[in-house]
């Protein structure tokens, strides 16, 4: 299992790298002159492109973050075993649910 988790973490990282770069660039561009809901939604609403971009972003993050958090908890706390693994799956589900909801919120 460790190999699989490692593979998922590294693969999701490789996927996230270009997405994060685009997202950072967008943030730095969009904050100029103040940020409004109109400006954000004007860009994202009805856009298949942004829907796909952020949808993939959410899914990749929902894989990447919990695996990383699992490592941290196993090393820096006493928590390990199946209960930790279960908690990480839960975290992944929460990120996926809230994330895809957010994508829906700005795209539809």
């Amino acid at each position: 299992m460790e190999t699989r988790l490692f593979a998922l973490q590294r693969l999701s990282a490789m996927l996230l790298a270009p997405l994060v770069l685009v997202h950072l660039a967008l943030i730095l561009y969009a904050v100029r002159g103040g940020l409004t809901a109109e400006e954000i939604l004007g860009r994202t609403q009805g856009s298949i492109g942004w829907a796909l971009f952020y949808g993939i972003f959410v899914l990749a993050a929902a894989v990447h973050a919990p695996i990383g958090v699992r490592n941290v908890l196993r090393e820096w706390t006493a928590w390990r075993g199946t209960s930790l693994d279960g908690a990480m799956l839960l975290l992944s589900a929460i990120l996926m649910a809230t994330g895809l909801r957010a994508v829906w919120a700005v795209v539809v």
């Binding site: 460790e2 190999t3 988790l5 490692f6 593979a7 490592n71 196993r74 090393e75």
Partner: protein, 242 residues
């Protein structure tokens, strides 16, 4: 630089798991290693001080201890390099159970070496022809780059992942496993990969690089472990083989 007028303030760990640091004042000399300092204390101040050494010339790795927070070969550590302000703190290697004073129990270190599949097993019977191995092949070069390890446990002591994850096999054991994975003569390469894939295996390494920083033989366990990571990933693919 002055001689007997100068003294070093040396704190040495006395005891085992329970214990304390005891302060000694040691004459400073021009060319003095940390091992010289420990030896002076044992001869002139504390006959009961327990510590290990053998060759005294930097080839055996027996004198490894923690000096001012870093694991080092004490016979190869000049006092001037580590005690700029004249203070030394000496304790046994980190991450290993303490026997007495500066001597630690190397058993867990060697157990992990075995557990990582470090024991060589020939793939050919005794009477078979000597295999021809090309020293310039990528596998042989990878193995040769890592093969000089003498199991001194400095890297194991430097590694924080070993401290934080008791089941982590550690840099030396994994480095050894990497040499065998690249050894065409080894009959159990698949088993080695099984061993390093388990919990506490190569995937626990976070590339701090403390092992590389401290290895007295200038080996690179981080690179070896990265090699193991790539090998184990390859096994996930269909036809990835062993």
């Amino acid at each position: 630089m002055g001689d007997t007028d100068h003294h070093l303030q040396v704190a040495i760990w006395r005891g085992a798991g329970e214990g304390r640091f005891v302060d000694y004042e040691v004459p400073a000399r021009d060319s003095q290693t940390v091992l010289d300092v420990v030896t002076w204390v044992q001869r002139h101040r504390e006959p009961a001080l327990a510590y290990r050494f053998a060759c005294r010339v930097g080839v055996c790795g027996s004198c490894a201890m923690t000096v001012n927070g870093r694991p080092r070969w004490t016979c190869r550590t000049h006092v001037r390099k580590v005690a700029g302000d004249g203070r030394l703190t000496i304790e046994p290697l980190r991450n290993l159970p303490r026997i007495k004073d500066l001597a630690c129990d190397m058993t867990p270190f060697f157990e992990k070496w075995q557990r990582a599949g470090g024991r060589f097993k020939g793939s050919a019977p005794r009477g078979a022809a000597i295999p021809r191995l090309d020293p310039a092949s990528p596998e042989r070069r990878a193995a040769d780059a890592a093969i000089e390890c003498i199991n001194c446990a400095v890297c194991y002591s430097a590694c924080d992942t070993v401290t934080w994850s008791p089941d982590y096999l550690g840099p030396a054991a994994l480095n050894r496993a990497w040499t065998l994975v690249n050894d065409a003569r080894h009959g159990e390469r698949a088993r080695v990969l099984d061993a390093v894939e388990s919990a506490g295996g190569c995937h626990s390494c976070h590339t701090h690089g403390s092992c590389v920083e401290t290895c007295p033989v200038e080996l690179n366990p981080t690179a070896s472990i990265a090699g193991l990571k790539r090998r184990t990933l390859r096994r996930l693919l269909p036809g990835g083989g062993a």
